[in-house]
Subunit: 413 residues, 2 copies
């Protein structure tokens, strides 16, 4: 028995006036999603708990069965791990954006026009050449991931995650100075190092040929690095030990890959999987089918729906849900549903209107040989709420799946 968990990032939404008070999911043509609902057991799920808007990192921990409130230690380190940077215990890692500011450091674009991977790579290469002042004995690693996203890892003795962000997280606000968040010498040292890096990065970026070229082409220059979410890697029980399974992840978003790597899952690189709306859905489906030959459990994550939601692009979100549906059609055609359970959910609700993660529950459907099939015939936020799973929490999902494939241990005798 095997299990596949498909996560559409931010796929759930709230009713939208322009869609006649339907959600994008309710509006999308979704024959495969509906088939999974129809042949499966459905419900709604609070990734963390009712009303709490989760990040993709905390939600993924929860959906893998971990107590996110207990294990979460900041996004930066997870993003770094996911982007292939080796993060050691004790390292402090930050989530960074290439961004555009004016001369007074007011943020004009937090994503530098969603800078291309190519431009970002060239800039990152130059930033890695920056030299830190000697006394701290610290080193750093800077690496771009997808588009404007990047990670910074600071390594050295006696560092702390208790440092503030430089990212004001809002256009029109000024980039912030990094400050220590407690009185410890570790926090002061870390703040000093990161402050120094931010200033030196800015100098390099302002002079950089890539940015001169961007301005010439009418593109916003990536003239500052904004960082946030200082974190370390959490020390969790590997998923394989937790459930006695072999597990792998098909996905491109660094943050989710980071969570999976921390859970010691095998990461499968898929050519054409980009974490953007242009990602190759079919390649991911094929990689999942391939992975099922080897692994008991495969997590298939699609980032693109969340990107469209954050952009408030409702029709794009609908199109991407339809692409997920086609991807699921391939899975349904190629998975042996006599020996495989297929679960589909979202990691959180992202409102296309507020453009934020919201605390509303997400739909969940599980199909497979021995589920208690219910009367739900459609896969969406409201139809699934009438399903046989009722309302569960994110961290309940993995035990449910593992129980279906016979991998849970009895509690008691």
């Amino acid at each position: 028995m095997k299990a596949v968990l498909v996560i559409g990032d931010g796929m759930a939404d709230r009713p939208v006036k322009e869609l006649g008070w339907k959600t994008p999911l309710e509006t999308a043509r979704r024959p495969s999603l509906n088939q999974i609902a129809k042949t499966g057991i459905c419900g709604i799920m609070d990734p963390i708990s009712p009303g709490v808007p989760p990040g993709s990192d905390t939600a993924t921990f929860a959906l893998l069965g971990y107590d996110a409130l207990a294990v979460y230690s900041g996004r930066g380190a997870l993003e770094a791990v996911g982007s292939g940077i080796e993060v050691l215990l004790g390292d402090v890692a930050f989530r960074c954006n290439f961004a555009t500011v004016n001369g007074k450091l007011i943020v004009l674009d937090r994503r530098a026009g969603r800078i291309s991977n190519e431009d970002a790579s060239k800039l990152a290469e130059s930033l890695q050449k920056v030299r830190l002042k000697k006394p701290s004995n610290a080193e750093f690693l800077f690496k771009n991931t997808i588009q404007h996203r990047a990670t910074l890892v600071v390594r050295g003795p006696k560092l702390s995650t208790a440092v503030s962000d430089s990212d004001p997280e809002e256009v029109g606000k000024k980039a912030l100075e990094i400050t220590p968040l407690d009185e410890s010498s570790e926090a002061k040292l870390t703040a000093e190092i990161v402050k120094e890096l931010m200033h030196k990065f800015r100098e390099v970026l302002m002079q950089h040929p890539v940015n001169k070229e961007r301005v010439k082409s009418g593109l916003p220059p990536a003239n500052i690095i904004l960082c946030r979410g200082a974190g370390t890697i959490p020390d969790v029980e590997p998923l394989s030990e937790k459930y006695g399974i072999t597990a792998s992840c098909v996905g491109a978003a660094s943050l989710v890959k980071g969570v999976c790597k921390v859970a010691r899952m095998h990461l499968i690189d898929v050519k054409g999987a980009t974490g953007t709306p242009q990602t190759d859905f079919k390649a991911k489906a094929m990689a999942t089918i391939e992975a099922l030959r080897t692994y008991d459990f495969v997590l298939l994550h699609v980032k693109a729906t969340d990107v469209a939601s954050h952009d408030g692009d409702i029709s794009q979100k609908i199109r991407l849900i339809e692409k997920i549906d086609q991807m699921l059609s391939y899975l349904l055609d190629h998975v042996d549903l006599d020996s495989t359970y297929l679960a589909v959910t979202a990691d959180h609700t992202t409102s296309s209107i507020t453009r934020n993660h919201e605390g509303d529950p997400v739909p969940i459907a599980i199909t497979g040989p021995y589920v208690r099939r219910d009367t739900v015939e459609q896969y969406d936020e409201r139809a699934c709420a009438r399903g046989g799973l009722n309302r569960i929490r994110g961290m309940d999902l993995m035990p449910i799946l593992m129980s279906l494939i016979g991998k849970t241990k009895k509690f008691g005798a």
Copy 2:
């Protein structure tokens, strides 16, 4: 975006044979409640957890998003705070009843015929004149609140809440002696002080002209004070800081006002709001509308339904639910539902048959611009159980409301 939470105290019930196995709520004419259900998202809610009958104090803490099991420290202090007595950290406060006993201290009426506020005030004034023996260095404050209800606050060095009640909580039983509940000198001292007060109070009451007058008029004399629920004030995070909102409470019941005050909410005094079945429902609705101009969140609490339930007066309970419905009609007419979420629930089930708080869940409906409207068309215990919220816990409600008005912080990234 604003939010109003309307709480009908003990409004939920169990099916009643005399009503053709319907509940009072299912029987009442309730067009406004039904409209809220119809245009909203519905569910059932366990104020604390399934099967646990909450008090109005613990339930209100939970409905405000606090972990009642962690913060609750007894009813007495909350009642005292709510009735306008300043309670300091370290004070021990009791919930008291004016009651009627016979010569052998057997309780004949735990509410002294629901004594009028006027009579109770005169008696309380005399009781406050009692002098404690010197050595304890303690002081006390005694104040009547609504009808037979009163509060006693004992203030002094080295007091304890570990003392027993004098209230047997049942007609036909004998008033109890106050005893310390542990071996500490603080508990012994507190028990001695309260015992002394109870005896001196009884002496004053037996001689009092108000009681002589009551007996002449055929009313039960308030010839004893019964006390219970020794407590201190809990030190909770103010609601405004917890959610970044301004918050106020429209309600007359001291206990609920106490909880709101401990949560540092602004208390709004409404002329004509009495906490009794004669309360001015429209005045409370108007005060709520007025409060919405200033506050992000308004809690509107109606005590009367619980009073009718404890009296086992089913037709009165139905009438009061219909008055709540009319109050909601005013709210629906005057609230801007494009920018306001309106939630209606009960703080607990009170059975008109057992006349006690019970552990059954309560109905909950939330209407407002972006809720995932469901197919429920009626507001009652059973119809709401088929709604899109499914089954939630009391402490989940506030995060859900705060998420709808954009006031929750994301957990993770």
